[in-house]
């Protein structure tokens, strides 16, 4: 079974969970004997091959079928289309980023062959332009490659998926890793919403990463429930690495928030809960790790509540610092307002850290050994934090079962389910 997949990012060049999810999923699909042609806007050449055939599609329109990189067994192809778009960012963040990139990439954008595709505006500045350009390349790829199924990851690739379907007549699966409602709350970008809706309407099947997302798709986009199927994400076992040394320079327990500091992640609820806990429990410190458009407001709020000596901001963490942070933590909180899936609590649990997660997260559907609260229920969150820090049996239980539970959440289950969906579609 050969699948033409459209993605937007691939490790190690990722900005959010989408790339990680695509990576985990495709690897598992290979183990289930599927073949994948994977298209991404931009390929850096250092993507992990691991038995995958990767093709850069940077020059697809100029030299269709030109394979820049290919793994020896040729099972996965990765195409590249140059772009600055990042998934999981709000438009506000995106524009800021685009402005900076514009200076750097001014030269690069001229490398695109304007004979095959002419730009209307500045490269990377117009989000929709990017998405449409990707779709044009997609139709080219669909024309020149052989496959049985088309699979598009998130709205950025849906127009590409639709084009490929038009050209090839092959069935289309669109995969909802996140919806516009998750990213922007009630301030939905109508253009993005429209592409999401169009993509799902045109698709033969819609895959949602959680029941929560499935619900959103049905209720807010009006998609026929019969064609929306939940396939929960998995999690990859961690790469073997030297244990990170963690030294604590103070006796207090640590409660951590780690993620982008944006509306979607609910950082303000974490701060309010922290305030409640600190009024009762002097033996605790709170850490907010990450960056994002809400960071300045969060810092002001902490100052306003006069708890700056107990509440710390680390900025964006990566690599060993993330592990060190988990290593120091006594509890991990994910208060997301809307989290289609949410992989970070699983990483915390793997480090034996008890987790408190919002019920508005897909991962809450698959985890048993976690405390679950409504994101707006600041009292409940505070109570869960206090309980985790002060009632020892909780910690013992989480340590005993949490890590094991995470190890059981595998991408292979997702791949097998997806394969069944494909087979079903092909037989219809």
């Amino acid at each position: 079974m050969k699948v033409l997949m459209f993605g937007w990012e691939f490790p190690p060049h990722i900005s959010g969970g989408l790339g990680t999810a695509c990576y985990g999923l495709t690897k598992a699909m290979l183990r289930s004997d599927m073949e994948i042609l994977f298209v991404v806007p931009k390929l850096y050449g250092d993507e992990p091959a691991e038995g995958m055939k990767m093709i850069s599609a940077s020059g697809v329109e100029m030299h269709p079928g030109d394979e820049v990189f290919q793994s020896p067994d040729g099972k996965i192809s990765l195409f590249e289309i140059d772009s600055t778009l990042l998934p999981y960012t709000t438009e506000e963040e995106y524009l800021k980023l685009a402005k900076e990139l514009e200076k750097v990439q001014h030269v690069k954008k001229l490398q695109w062959d304007s004979k095959t595709y002419s730009f209307s505006g500045g490269y990377g500045k117009n989000l929709m332009e990017e998405v449409k350009r990707y779709a044009i390349v997609a139709s080219n790829i669909a024309k020149t490659h052989d496959f049985e199924i088309i699979h598009a990851h998130d709205w950025l690739t849906y127009l590409a998926g639709i084009e490929a379907r038009k050209i090839s007549g092959k069935p289309l699966v669109v995969h909802m890793h996140a919806t516009e409602f998750d990213r922007s709350g009630q301030h939905v970008n109508p253009a993005v919403f429209e592409i999401e809706q169009t993509g799902m309407q045109a698709a033969d099947k819609v895959v949602a990463v959680s029941h929560l997302t499935r619900d959103t798709v049905i209720k807010k986009y009006g998609i026929d429930p019969d064609k929306v199927i939940t396939v929960h994400n998995g999690v990859d076992p961690p790469a073997k690495k030297a244990p990170v040394e963690t030294i604590r320079h103070f006796p207090e327990k640590i409660v951590t928030f780690l993620g982008r500091i944006t509306f979607q992640k609910g950082p303000e609820y974490f701060i309010e809960a922290a305030h409640k806990v600190l009024q009762r429990d002097g033996n605790v410190r709170f850490v907010m790790a990450g960056s994002g458009d809400m960071l300045p407001r969060m810092i002001r709020r902490v100052a306003e509540l006069d708890m700056g000596t107990r509440f710390h901001f680390t900025g964006f963490l990566r690599g060993a610092d993330v592990d060190r942070m988990y290593g120091m933590s006594d509890a991990y909180v994910m208060p997301s307002v809307s989290e289609p899936f949410g992989i970070s609590p699983l990483e915390a649990m793997r480090s034996n850290v008890p987790v408190i997660i919002s019920k508005q997260s897909g991962v809450a559907e698959v985890l048993k050994h976690a405390l679950k609260v409504d994101y707006w229920d600041v009292d409940g969150m505070a109570d869960a934090i206090y309980g985790t820090l002060n009632y020892p049996a909780l910690r013992t239980m989480f340590r005993k079962f949490g890590k094991k539970e995470v190890e059981g959440i595998k991408w292979d289950q997702a791949a097998i389910k997806l394969k069944k969906i494909y087979q079903h579609m092909l037989h219809e």
């Binding site: 409640k276 009024q279 009762r280 048993k368 405390l371 679950k372 309980g387 009632y391 049996a393």
Partner: protein
């Protein structure tokens, strides 16, 4: 053939979402609204209509139809507070002389596993309550969740009981039939009636299950099963929660029609007689002794204690609860003592059970919490506050 029908009536005091910042602030531990609401609902859907059916059966079949109840002290207390007509309804049944009320621990507690002193205190409280309300001196005993062991046999016998009800657990009986009277190997004077779990659960758990190949279960079919029991046997013990009727099995499933119909068929067509544990213990000849070194119960496949105790959450909460015992007796504050007893109810520990993660939809159904972890946190918050209140009493004796 004799039939022994015993119904368990119990409602716990469910905890409120008592937060850690409530600790030291107030002692409104219990969810008054939910407890009242649930009690009134169950009274309406189950206790009152089911009592009426039994009343009719007693009037119709006279001496041939008798039943036994065990009503926990906490249920009685909530009836008095929220729905007194349920008490009146049970009193009417009591006045027929065809109903035996069993003794149990007042708080539907697991005290038998931890403290002889507290166990005896609660049984005495319950005896008194039954005497006060129904004018009966209890002669048969049933322990919370039908928990039984050699050690418990001794305690129960020491309190003057010569009959006790428990589970016909396979691993205790082996090849033997549950449909006989047994005695305790530890205390041969104590007679044991064992639940026939297959025939009991056909009604309590399977009655409305459409995936069950025997669905729908008619009175005729059920009585034919009762008749299939070996003629060497003496008594079929049908023990179940009273909430089976109208609450676990909704009225729409036909459960009340069933309850009304099968005793009549059993009596008139099969010549069976419904008798109470007290009567049966006198009439029947004990088969043999049963040795039960490790506690058994009526719960789950295992028929052991793991629904209430065994995981870290349950064990810690249970230990911390009984750590307070000595001090709470010493302080002699009626309100604190009462609260401490309410916290002993087995339901609190049942909510902390993690077994249903892998199986047992039953647990999920009866659990007001999202997860055992939530149950544990609320419980520990309450216990922490109770502890603080006890400390302040210790420092400032009540006399001041």
């Amino acid at each position: 053939m004799n039939i022994c029908l015993y119904f368990q009536v119990h409602q716990p005091y469910r905890l409120a979402a008592y937060r850690f910042f409530d600790i030291g602030d107030h002692d409104r531990y219990f969810d008054e609204y939910a407890n009242r609401f649930i009690l009134q609902q169950v009274a309406e859907k189950c206790y009152l209509p089911a009592n009426e059916v039994l009343m009719e059966l007693i009037e119709r079949y006279g001496d041939d139809f008798k039943v036994a109840f065990s009503i926990s002290g906490m249920a009685l207390e909530q009836f008095k507070a929220f729905e007194p007509k349920v008490i009146e309804s049970f009193q009417k049944l009591a006045n027929t002389g065809s109903v035996e009320f069993l003794a149990e621990t007042w708080a539907h507690s697991l005290a038998s596993l931890k403290s002889k002193k507290e166990f005896e205190a609660q049984v005495s409280m319950h005896e008194q309550a039954i005497w006060d309300l129904f004018g009966q001196k209890t002669v048969s005993f049933r322990n919370t969740e039908l928990i039984f062991s050699n050690d418990i046999a001794k305690m129960v016998n020491d309190m003057g009981y010569k009959t006790m009800l428990t589970e016909g657990a396979k691993h205790i009986l082996g090849w033997r039939s549950p449909n006989k009277l047994y005695t305790s190997a530890e205390v041969p004077a104590l007679r044991l009636l064992l639940k026939n779990f297959r025939l009991s659960d056909d009604i309590a758990f399977r009655f409305s299950n459409r995936d069950w190949k025997e669905w729908p279960l008619t009175a005729e079919k059920y009585v034919s099963w009762l008749q299939q029991v070996s003629s060497d046997d003496d008594v079929i013990n049908l023990f179940m929660d009273y909430e089976t009727f109208g609450e676990h099995q909704w009225k729409e499933t036909g459960i009340f029609d069933f309850l009304e119909a099968f005793p009549g068929l059993a009596i008139e067509q099969a010549g069976m007689r419904f008798k109470t544990p007290g009567i049966l213990a006198d009439e029947l000849k004990p088969e043999t002794e049963l040795d039960v070194p490790y506690p058994i119960s009526w719960a789950d496949e295992e028929r052991d204690l793991t629904a209430w105790l065994g995981n870290e959450l349950q064990d810690e909460a249970f230990e911390k609860l009984y750590d307070l015992e000595e001090d709470i007796y010493r302080i002699k504050d009626e309100k604190l003592l009462h609260t401490w007893r309410l916290l002993q109810t087995s339901d609190h520990f049942y909510y902390m059970c993690t077994k249903w993660f892998s199986d047992g939809d039953v647990h999920k159904y009866f659990n007001p919490y999202n997860s055992p972890y939530d149950a544990y946190i609320h419980y520990m918050n309450v216990l922490s506050d109770l502890y603080l209140r006890m400390q302040s009493k210790s420092i400032n004796p009540a006399s001041k």
